[in-house]
């Protein structure tokens, strides 16, 4: 769930308030940082991080409940902005780098399934895998 908005990094653009698909955030007063107003509605989808141009939001890994984090430790961990960097979210138009490896999804999904099927067949030499 969303764990923290770093007020010293936030520029008050409220992009996350619009981008959050589940209405977790309330716009900040006088253009200040947004407020986490409805944490129970957070689905841990990381979309607010993706749409934050300041890398000022940190979403914790647990969707089952609120998590206490140490903001200084998060800042030091280098994880702020990780989602945007991994997506290469702000690549210029025409740059094919963001999705360069994406076609491999299907082949690797299948290769993994075949590994599991071969292992199962070894365990059950007389059974045909449906």
């Amino acid at each position: 769930m969303i764990a923290h908005i770093f007020e010293e990094l936030c520029n008050g653009c409220q992009a996350c308030v619009s981008a959050c698909p589940t209405h977790v955030l309330e716009a900040g007063a006088q253009g200040g940082p947004p407020v986490i107003a409805r944490l129970d509605q957070c689905q841990t989808c990381f979309m607010c991080e993706l749409y934050c141009p300041q890398d000022a939001i940190f979403v914790g890994p647990d969707q089952t409940g609120p998590e206490a984090i140490d903001p200084a430790a998060i800042k030091a961990s280098g994880l702020l902005g990780q989602m945007r960097r991994d997506h290469i979210w702000e690549a210029p138009a025409g740059d094919l780098e963001p999705l360069r490896e994406y076609w491999k999804l299907g082949p690797y999904l299948m290769e993994g399934a075949q590994i599991a099927a071969a292992r199962y067949a070894q365990r059950h030499p007389k059974k045909t895998v449906p």
Binding site: H23, T44, G60, D62, Q82, L96, L99, R100
Partner: protein, 531 residues
């Protein structure tokens, strides 16, 4: 706050890929088009958080026929080849049109790779495309109810703008429901807003649903966070004592999930991904960044440490049920109301088996465009009828029949989750379990109908709860009447195909639920069956 009132030719309700394609098609056909979404077009729904592959077969008659034949074999007599052909052709022609908005890369053979797209980039591309062709997008404008004319045709919708805190009304000549499926609040990634709103709004206006019994399908994820599944297909599984479990491989689909569910009913199950394809390990981050984050941020080494897993219900998202489609234009059984994507039944393409992954995406793209274009045509022929009176059709959660008082909504949602998602109840349905589910959910429904009233922002949650309960009631009712095992619908007390079961099962009604097989004869009435 004062209300917002608009009129338009075509109103699209929803904000995922089906809604976006519908809006683009309507606008390109020359219609004034407004799209209202509960969330934000770009991040809303299960496509934005996923990476949809589309059913993608080149226009070679032999290849197409083989692909369609293969799907027919798992459709168990409920799909139609003509729809498969339509979906394949529309998908093939449509995705390349996104090239100006989405950075399609190359596949391993130097060809442009169109079939699979990453969710956030795809939905951002569709948003930009829709805006460029003149669609007016209203984010955070959840629809609460449909409006109808006195002759029953849909006249628009009313809702609540949740950032601006104002009610809105939009009159339209034609309306497309593209509100997605319903995952019964399972925690499935991206599905929190997928509460079956369109099913409820449609049914209140008189629309029929079809295939709601096909709603028992699950996705494996770490127990603490639903993700996509790319790294898990080679997983080995262990129980709490560290003994390896004998789980059939993922390609067996039902057997894989049944064995996992059986083990999870006994205790926690752990996955070990050390045997995942070696070449995948260093580049998973480049393919599915959001799958890495829940591990990295928890200090779990994805391919080294054992971690607890569970199954997240997909309901009608990768199930196949939804609003019944009555013609080639994706119109529902109510005039002026069209349905697209997971809001519509996908039985026409995949029948009784999941269209998860590629056929569902291809269907969303196709049904969106067919419905959007047909809505634009209807608007041109018929006009907006804005001089006539229209009436709101929503009731439960908006207009209680008795004195409004507090209703325990969390308990209502817990009842839905328990009856629809519990592994034993979903994988091993019986007449007894479904009859008891119906009785419990009917009680929840009656309480909401009589006493749940809401104002302002609270209306949104009240309607979500109503839609969740309504969807669960239709699913349980259809599952009770389909007294056989077909595709994903498994009845422990009727484990075989029934000889006369290759017929789509319709369900509808709001307070009093009816069911009917689509072909003539064989009328089923729940009161008879329960007796």
């Amino acid at each position: 706050m004062s209300a917002l009132d608009f009129e338009t030719d075509v109103l699209i309700i929803g904000g995922g890929m089906a809604a976006a394609w519908a809006a683009i098609a309507a606008a390109q056909a020359g219609a004034d088009t407004i799209l209202v979404d509960k969330g934000f077009v770009g991040t809303s729904g299960v496509t934005a958080t996923a990476g949809p592959g589309h059913w993608w077969v080149p226009p070679d008659p032999t290849l197409r026929a083989a692909a369609i034949e293969k799907r027919q074999q798992t459709a168990f007599g409920l799909a139609e080849k003509i729809w498969a052909e339509r979906v394949l052709e529309t998908t093939w022609r449509s995705l390349p049109r996104l090239a100006a908005y989405y950075p399609f890369s190359r596949d391993g053979n130097g060809q442009t790779y169109y079939a699979g797209v990453r969710g956030p980039e795809y939905m951002r591309a569709l948003r930009h495309y829709a805006l460029d062709v003149g669609v007016r997008i209203l984010d955070h404008h959840p629809a609460l109810e449909l409006l109808t004319h006195t002759d029953g045709a849909v006249a628009g919708a009313a809702g609540y703008a949740r950032l601006a805190r104002r009610s809105w009304t939009i009159r339209s000549a034609a309306t497309v429901l593209a509100t997605g499926g319903c995952a019964f609040r399972s925690g499935l990634i991206g599905s929190r807003t997928n509460t079956g709103d369109g099913y409820l709004m449609g049914a209140e206006a008189g629309a029929e649903l079809s295939g709601m019994e096909f709603s028992t399908i699950y996705t494996l994820s770490p127990a603490w966070c639903s993700t996509r599944t790319l790294p898990y297909t080679a997983a080995r599984f262990f129980d709490g004592a560290g003994a390896e479990l004998d789980i059939p491989p993922p390609m067996t689909d039902r057997a894989h999930h049944w064995a996992l569910a059986m083990a999870m009913l006994k205790g926690p199950v752990f996955a070990d991904l050390s045997e995942a394809p070696d070449a995948l390990k260093p580049i998973l981050r480049r393919i599915q960044p959001a799958t890495i984050a829940p591990f990295e941020r928890r200090g779990v080494r994805l391919f080294e440490d054992r971690f607890e897993v569970k199954l997240f219900g997909e309901g009608t998202i990768r199930g196949t049920g939804g609003l019944r489609i009555v013609d080639d234009d994706c119109q529902t059984s109510v005039r002026g109301l069209f349905a697209a994507g997971d809001a519509a039944t996908r039985e026409l393409v995949v029948g009784a088996s999941s269209g998860g992954g590629s056929p569902n995406s291809a269907w969303a793209l196709t049904s969106g465009q067919l419905g959007g274009a047909a809505a634009a045509r209807l608007a041109r022929v018929q006009g907006r009828r804005t001089g006539e009176r229209a009436h709101g059709r929503g009731r439960v959660g908006l207009r209680p029949t008795r004195a409004a008082h507090a209703v325990d909504e969390a308990a209502a949602i817990d009842a839905v989750r328990d009856e629809m998602l519990s592994y034993d109840k979903a994988f091993w349905r019986t007449r007894d379990s479904l009859t008891s589910a119906r009785a419990r959910l009917d009680g929840v429904w009656a309480e909401l109908a009589q006493h749940r009233g809401a104002e302002g922002l609270e209306q949104v949650a009240a309607r979500e709860t109503a839609a969740l309960v309504a969807t669960a009631r239709w699913s349980a009712s259809a599952a009770l009447v389909r007294n056989e095992t077909r595709g994903m619908h498994a009845r422990a007390d009727a484990p075989h195909l029934a000889p006369d079961g290759a017929r789509r099962l319709l369900v509808g009604g709001v307070d009093s639920i009816w069911t009917r097989f689509e072909t003539a004869g064989a009328q089923a009435d729940l009161s008879d069956i329960a007796a």
